[in-house]
Each structure stands twice: as C-alpha cells, then as structure tokens.
C-alpha cells in the first residue's frame, strides 16, 4: 500500500547524510569528550566544531549553545534554570496559553513551588497581544517565555517586538523554537534564550540545545561532572550532536519552499470540502509546513484513523484520541467552538513531500470526510 507521511511536525526521518555523518562517532571516534587522551580530544574537537557551526548557521553571535537531550529538556532548563537563578529578584513568570506541554507543566510545577505564573491569552489567529504582555510585566517578573512557531496551529510570533518590550522592562525572554528552527528567521538579537532540537529537521531524536545569551543568569537542572560550561552535566552525545550539526548544514531554502508549496496545496484542497475551517493565522505568519483544519461534523480521531487505513499519516493533536480525552489547549485558547476543536486535523509537510502525494491525500480526505459525515448526526 502507498504510504504518505504528513506528520513532520511530530518528527522527521533521519536524513541519509546525517546518518552517514554520525556513523563513525559510534565506534571510531567514540571517546568521552572529557578524557585527556587522543580518543577524548577527538571527541571534544568534534563537539566544539559542531557547537560553533550551529551557532554560526543560526547567526547567534552573543549566545552560547548548550547541548541537551531535546526540546523538552531545553524548555525545562530555561524555565526552571532562570526561575531558580533569579528568584531573589522575583518569582513571577509570564508565558502563554498556547505553549507546548513541557513549558506549561514546568510552569505548573514552579507554581506548586512558590512561583507565580501569568498565562497570556492569544487572538483568534494565535498571536500574543503586545500591549497585554507589557501590562502583565511586573517588578518581580523575571522571565517571559513565548513559543516562536506554534506546533499545532503554526502561528509565528514577532520575536523582535516581544524582545524589545522585555529588554525595555529588563526581563529575560525565552522562546521555544523547536518547530521554527532552520525554517523561519530567528532574531537572536532580541531573544535571551532559544530552545532548538534536531529531530524536527531530519536530525536524530534525543538531541537538542538551548542558546543562552552570555550574560544570562541561569542555574543548571542537571548537576554532575560540569560538562557544557557547568550548565548541563552528563557525557556528551557526540554522535547525536554531529547529526544535529549535519541536519543544520543540509537544510536548504528549496526544502522550505517545498514545504510551503505542499502546505498551501493541502490547505486549498481541504478547504474545498464544505463546512471546513482553517485554524491559526490566515497570512504569511504561519510555519512553512503547518496546516490545521477543522472538518465540522466529524471527529478528528475518526479522520486520522480512516486516513491511516489508506496509508496517510496525519495528527489530531486535539480531542478524543484513544489515549486522551483532553481537548487541545491551543485550540481552546483561540476561542474555537467545541465542534471546531474536536474536528481539527494537523497536516505537516516535509522537504520531500510531493505534489502527487498531496493530490492523493486531498482526494482520499474528501472521501473519508464524506463517508464519516454520512454516519454523523451533524450535517
């Protein structure tokens, strides 16, 4: 059976070039980067070269890059590390209602431990209100954390304008850029901390990083042998880091263009179906590979499973999957109606997604929605 993957926002396959680059670091250059001997020194060199390469590619000149195990760790590190290092200045943190669960749950944990957190609302398209942000910053605010490109609805926030407000008010600004890194421009001049990871850009799982501006006061959350400038202990995952750097290296402008082109095709095709709605931003401020659409009158999970049966992989990221019943907090924050939330599907395209594949997906989607609406009570 034909199989089409349209869930690249969940994860991407490893690029062949990345795998080839990583291979020697599993068995040939396998040393511990902390060791004094040649094996160790070779590993250390590979580590530092990768770090410098990624920093340069990202145009992060005033930041250090701390390698971590991925986006979740980087986000936890940023939130908890800033909170603990700056708690004498204040115990107030600002974030939004549309963050990834790892930010929200890290904040919740801080709330249980004496910190105060404000959750900014967003407009219908998922944008943060800059005025509300400015008004929410208090004397005891230490950190603002706002996701760059939203993983569910694709909204891209204006890092520059948010950063200006944070600078003016003297609070740290962190952004979770897991979905946007290497896809959208990240203005490092205006952001103090940036979370990135490898497996969304054809790199390996289990590797990520946190860019930290050099003057930022932050505590580690993993204590140990003092690796990564004493900010993240644990023997470095050299093969993974090499893979991360390679993934950054091979990302091309034409890959982004292909994601955009196929994304727009899926949006156009899906909206041809009656009673559908595009969620998230209408214009260009949308992640290059994200489409989120509600198919009123059917449930998202039913669409995902019917498409899966036809070899097509998409995601609900929303209500009523076989594992969870919680409606998506992101779609709730947009103020969508219950039937729009429960019928939402996320399609995310990749660098090798083909026009013919999208044509097949749209055709199948039309059949599936039609068939499910026959079963459904809502017309």
């Amino acid at each position: 059976m034909r199989r089409i993957y349209l869930d690249y926002a969940a994860t991407t396959p490893l690029a062949k070039e990345v795998l080839e680059a990583m291979k020697p670091y599993f068995y040939k250059i396998f040393g511990n980067a902390s060791s004094l001997h040649k094996f160790g020194r070779e590993a250390k060199e590979a580590l530092e070269n990768s770090r410098e390469f990624i920093k340069k590619k990202a145009c992060a000149n005033e930041h250090e890059l701390i390698f971590t195990s991925g986006g979740t760790e980087s986000n936890n590190f940023a939130i908890k590390g800033i909170a603990f290092a700056n708690r004498k200045k204040g115990k107030h943190i600002i974030t939004t209602k549309i963050e990834h669960d790892c930010i929200l749950n890290a904040c919740k944990w801080l709330e249980e431990n004496g910190f105060k957190v404000s959750y900014l609302s967003v407009d219908k398209e998922g944008f943060v209100d800059l005025g509300e942000l400015e008004r929410t910053i208090r004397k005891d605010t230490i950190l603002v954390s706002i996701i760059h490109g939203n993983n569910e609805i694709g909204t891209i926030q204006d890092l520059k304008e948010i950063g200006k407000i944070c600078m003016k008010k003297g609070v740290y600004f962190h952004t979770d850029a897991c979905q946007s890194f290497m896809k959208e421009k990240i203005d490092f001049d205006y952001v103090d901390l940036v979370t990135v990871n490898a497996h969304k850009i054809y790199g390996p799982k289990g590797v990520g990083g946190l860019f930290i501006r050099k003057d930022v006061k932050i505590d580690p959350i993993l204590h140990g042998g003092g690796h990564e400038f004493s900010l993240r202990s644990g023997t470095e995952n050299i093969a993974g880091i090499i893979g991360f750097a390679k993934a950054v290296e091979i990302m091309k402008e034409m890959d982004i263009e292909n994601m955009k082109k196929t994304r727009d095709m899926i949006i156009k095709g899906a909206l041809e179906i009656e009673n559908t709605k595009l969620n998230g931003p209408k214009g260009e401020k949308r992640l290059c590979n994200n489409a989120n659409i509600s198919f009123i009158g059917v449930e998202g999970e039913a669409i995902v499973l019917r498409l899966d049966e036809k070899g097509i992989a998409v995601s609900t990221g929303s209500a009523c999957s076989s594992r969870s019943l919680e409606p998506s907090h992101v779609l709730l924050a947009l103020g969508l109606k219950p039937e729009e939330i429960s019928s939402a599907i996320r399609f995310s395209t990749g660098k090798e997604t083909k026009k013919e594949e999208i044509e097949y997906v749209v055709k199948t989607l039309k059949e599936v929605v039609k068939d499910l609406r026959k079963i459904s009570l809502l017309k």
Partner: protein, 152 residues
C-alpha cells in the same frame, strides 16, 4: 490502541442511517467528550425488527454504536434491555480505558429508544428504565451548557 474488532467496526460500521416512522428513537450525548449518538428502532410484536444509528464521535463511539445494533437486532424488548456495557466491551475485544464511556453511551441510546417506544405505545415503563431516562435528561442539560445546543 484499539482492538482489531473495534477498528473493523469503525472502518465498516453496520446499520448506519435512519428509520422512517420508527417505533422509538433514543438520543444521547456524552458528558465526557461531547459525542452524540442517535438510535432508531422498529418494533414488531415486541421484537426489534430493525435498528439503525447515527453517531458523531470517535472510532470507539462509532464501533460501539455499530455493534449494539447488531446485538440488539431481532431481540425481544425485555432482552435488549439486558444488554450491558460489559457485553459491548467484551464483544469488541476490549476498549482503551479512556473509551469505556463510549460503551455506556451505546447502552443508554438503546435504552432511550426503548423508553421512547414504550412511552409512545402507552405501555408500562419499568422503574429502572424511567430512572435511567431521568438521569440522561439531566446530563443532556449539562452537555448543552458545556457544548451548546446540539445542532442538526
């Protein structure tokens, strides 16, 4: 994940649709996730001769709707009332824990259809069935508050 049987019934549901001039109709909403199920029965000599459903919901909701129509078809009213959620779950080869409520929804829809049939034909309604109906009515009000009025 779902059992093979659930997937089979979800992908190829039986008895989908409506019945013209039904003997009874049961409509229930799910307080947990907003699913809606409508069940139609045609009764002759106290036997469910035909039964059809329409459901807005997840795979489990569609599968449970479908299988209960198969189990109830050609059953006597009094026997159909004995169909339990356990029987539904068992005949589907199990349901994920978070989806157990879908089987309750199907059982309720059938009970409501029978309640409607008995009421329409001015027959005596068993006390359990009456209580069940009152509970469902109460839940419908809560659902309307949470999800808005059900639109058709």
């Amino acid at each position: 994940m779902y059992s093979k049987k659930v997937m089979q019934y979800f992908l190829h549901p039986k008895n989908v649709g409506e019945i013209k001039n039904p003997s009874g109709v049961g409509e229930v909403g799910n307080i947990v996730c907003g699913d809606v199920m409508k069940l139609y029965i045609k009764v002759k000599s106290d036997i469910i001769k035909d039964i059809k459903f329409k459901t807005l919901g997840c795979a489990a909701a569609i599968a449970t709707s479908s299988i209960i129509t198969e189990i109830a078809k050609n059953k006597k009213i009094e026997d159909a009332l004995k169909i339990s959620k356990e029987e539904i779950i068992k005949s589907l080869g199990g349901l994920p824990p978070v989806k157990i409520h879908c089987s309750v929804l199907a059982v309720d829809a059938l009970k409501e259809a029978i309640y409607d049939y008995l009421k329409k034909s001015k027959r005596e309604i068993p006390i359990d069935l009456k209580k069940n109906h009152e509970r469902i009515e109460k839940e419908k009000k809560i659902i309307e508050k949470m999800y808005g009025k059900i639109k058709r």
